[in-house]
């Protein structure tokens, strides 16, 4: 996978929000790239900037207060942070599309499913209404909605959350995009439906060769679908590795903290103490407008030294294609 030229490449992207309390560095110099057919997971807890990061790719940050202040998003030889508003509209939904977290509210309640899927088709691919409706039905079949023809005339409120998320996927993939950004696509769904949706995304990705950026806070989802993982903390990338390396040998204390915080079903079968507390990461994410000089994680970390308080850790390769930003050497 690594040998391929990346489809989408972020370099030192910085998105800031101007607030009364000061400048919020929601995304503070993040770089990553995805290749065709690859799945990159972006992981982090609430408020770490992962959603802002994905919205920044398509310049969907409301301005004011938000602004992309630095870095580049390279896609097809263009820097998306620099292109005109008209140009980015051609890319949105067509070459790069997005799925959102809340399937219940991400569809227009006043418009039929068929119309909502055909809209980007008529706009971006110049299909006639009739052709677009045909393609919309194909898309509904593709995302495995039974009775697709009937559903073309159906409304979102008649559907369950899982079905709506399927429709969202159908809309996002209708124009055969090169990149699909899925912003917590399964967070609002039942666990059983989650698995179905993830499987669906993976199968469609295989079929269409789409690059997928899966934004999530759920390490279970990461293990399920990702090829590579970027862990974010306080607007910065703290670790990047192949999914196997990351789970086998996490290099950043934050990643380790995330992993130990997962409830484990196997404890029941192992006969361990069920009343044992889950390990948590103490403290909260610092306000992003007031970050310390040193490592942003220092206050919550159990490995903190004086150096962590004074110097920002360098993002370095700890082992082959496994990077982390930490002064400490983690043993496996």
């Amino acid at each position: 996978m690594d040998a391929q030229a990346p489809v989408l490449e972020l370099k030192n992207l910085e998105t800031h929000f101007e607030t009364r309390d000061g400048t919020v560095r929601a995304v503070d110099g993040v770089s990553y790239s995805v290749g065709a057919g690859e799945t990159l997971a972006v992981v982090g807890e609430s408020g770490c900037g992962k959603s802002v990061l994905s919205l920044s790719i398509l310049r969907l940050i409301p301005n004011p207060p938000g602004k992309i202040v630095g870095g580049s998003v390279m896609f097809g030889g263009e820097d998306l942070t620099q292109v005109s508003e008209e140009r980015i509209r051609v890319i949105r939904g067509n070459k790069i599309s997005m799925i959102f977290q809340e399937p219940m509210t991400s569809l227009n309640p006043m418009m039929t499913i068929g119309k909502q899927i055909s809209e980007p088709l008529t706009q971006h691919m110049g299909l006639s209404k009739k052709q677009a409706t045909n393609r919309a039905q194909e898309m509904l079949d593709l995302v495995q909605i039974p009775d697709s023809k009937k559903w073309l005339g159906g409304y979102p409120h008649e559907m369950s959350g899982g079905m709506r998320q399927r429709v969202m996927i159908a809309i996002a993939l209708a124009c055969d995009p090169k990149v699909l950004i899925a912003d917590e696509p399964t967070t609002a769904l039942d666990v059983t439906i989650q698995a179905q949706i993830l499987l669906l995304i993976r199968n469609l990705q295989k079929k269409m060769g789409t690059a997928v950026i899966m934004v999530t806070h759920d390490l279970g989802v990461v293990a399920e679908v990702a090829d590579r993982v970027v862990v974010m903390y306080a607007g910065r990338k703290v670790e990047e590795a192949n999914v196997k390396d990351l789970f086998a040998n996490p290099q950043h204390p934050y990643t380790i903290g995330l992993m130990t915080a997962i409830p484990r079903l196997d404890k029941i079968t192992n006969g361990d103490d069920l009343n044992e507390r889950l390990t948590e990461i103490p403290g909260v994410v610092l306000p992003l407008y007031d970050l310390p000089v040193g490592c942003a994680f220092a206050d919550r970390c159990s490995f903190t030294t004086d150096k962590c308080r004074t110097d920002k850790p360098v993002f370095e390769e700890k082992s082959p294609s496994h990077w982390a930003a930490c002064w400490q050497e983690m043993s496996s």
Binding site: R92, G93, L107, P109, P120, K130, Q131, P146, H157, M168
Partner: protein
């Protein structure tokens, strides 16, 4: 549509779910009229409009022939609804009055709706200084009592139907723009609007195809309420001598004129008042019906 056999074989292009706008409209209006209440309000509205259009043929007397000898006669034959102090046939005047009142009401509300909703939508959707400018202007207009503003305008422009419509519209524009702005503000922060941006739609398309259809409920209700309101405000203008000029009848003007005779000749005000009442009922019910019908989440359950 009814029995779809589900197969994975691609459908031939002609057998698609695509249907023309007209067939959708026909089906939709049939469904609208399935409800008894909608049938009633639609029928009543149509009845009033047809009465107004056919007034020259239905009215037994001209609306402006003065005959003091027959003045203030009670309803009976040949004057079904009696006569006013000048001996003019109330029934004929109510029919002709329907023409002026309904047209002034409908045109004013329509004009106010189109202008006000556009302004409000721009204001709410664009935000920032555009919002500030438009809303401050609207507030300036709202700070002057509607009737004073209308009087001033009519006295400048002269009491013709177009200037009365313009004078009455200004108030409606401010009302519509505020309601539209509020709805647009709440709708534009919805996830599906963000999703529209993420699909590369233009702002114009998002506003017209996605935001405004979701704001339609309160706007329709306001329109149906304002219709009666406009007809009555016109009567205030008439009362102050700045409305439709005699001898042309308008319901509001007739109600106002009948005031002095209310104790001994109540029919002068009563019949135009009754028709105004029917009009308001019809349009309010129609407005509610249309609003429920346009909302796919429960149109048929009232």
């Amino acid at each position: 549509m009814t029995d779809t056999t589900h197969t994975q074989i691609p459908m031939p292009s002609d057998d698609s779910g695509y249907r023309s706008g007209w067939s959708l409209f026909a089906e939709s209006s049939n469904k609208f009229l399935e409800l008894k209440l909608n049938k009633f309000s639609f029928g009543l509205t149509m009845f009033l409009i047809v009465l107004a259009i056919l007034a020259p043929w239905i009215a037994p007397f001209p609306y402006d022939v003065v005959d003091p000898a027959r003045g203030l006669s009670a309803p009976g034959w040949p004057h079904l609804m009696g006569t006013d102090q000048a001996g003019r046939d109330i029934f004929s005047r109510v029919l002709y009055g329907a023409q002026t009142s309904l047209s002034i009401g409908l045109v004013t509300v329509l004009f106010g709706l189109v202008t006000g909703v556009s302004l409000g939508a721009i204001s709410g959707y664009v935000g920032g200084w555009v919002d500030e400018v438009i809303m401050r202007l609207v507030e300036i207009f709202m700070s002057v009592p509607g009737i004073v503003m209308a009087l001033a305008l009519v006295s400048i422009l002269g009491p013709s139907v177009p200037s009365i419509i313009l004078a009455l519209s200004i108030r409606r524009i401010t009302q519509f723009s505020r309601v539209a702005r509020g709805s647009v503000l709440s709708v534009k922060s919805q996830d599906y609007v963000t999703a529209c941006h993420a699909l590369g739609m233009s702002n114009a398309r998002i506003v017209f195809a996605h935001v405004l259809p979701n704001c339609i409920g309160p706007i329709i209700v306001l329109a149906s309420v304002l219709l009666g309101n406009v007809i009555l405000t016109e009567s205030t203008l008439s009362f102050l001598g700045m409305g439709i000029q005699e001898p042309t009848p308008s319901w509001g003007g007739m109600i106002a004129k009948g005031n002095e005779f209310l104790t001994f000749a109540p029919w002068i005000s009563l019949f135009p008042g009754g028709f105004l009442f029917l009009t308001m009922i019809a349009f309010n019910l129609l407005g509610d019906g249309v609003r429920d019908h346009l909302d796919p989440r429960g149109g048929s359950v009232v």
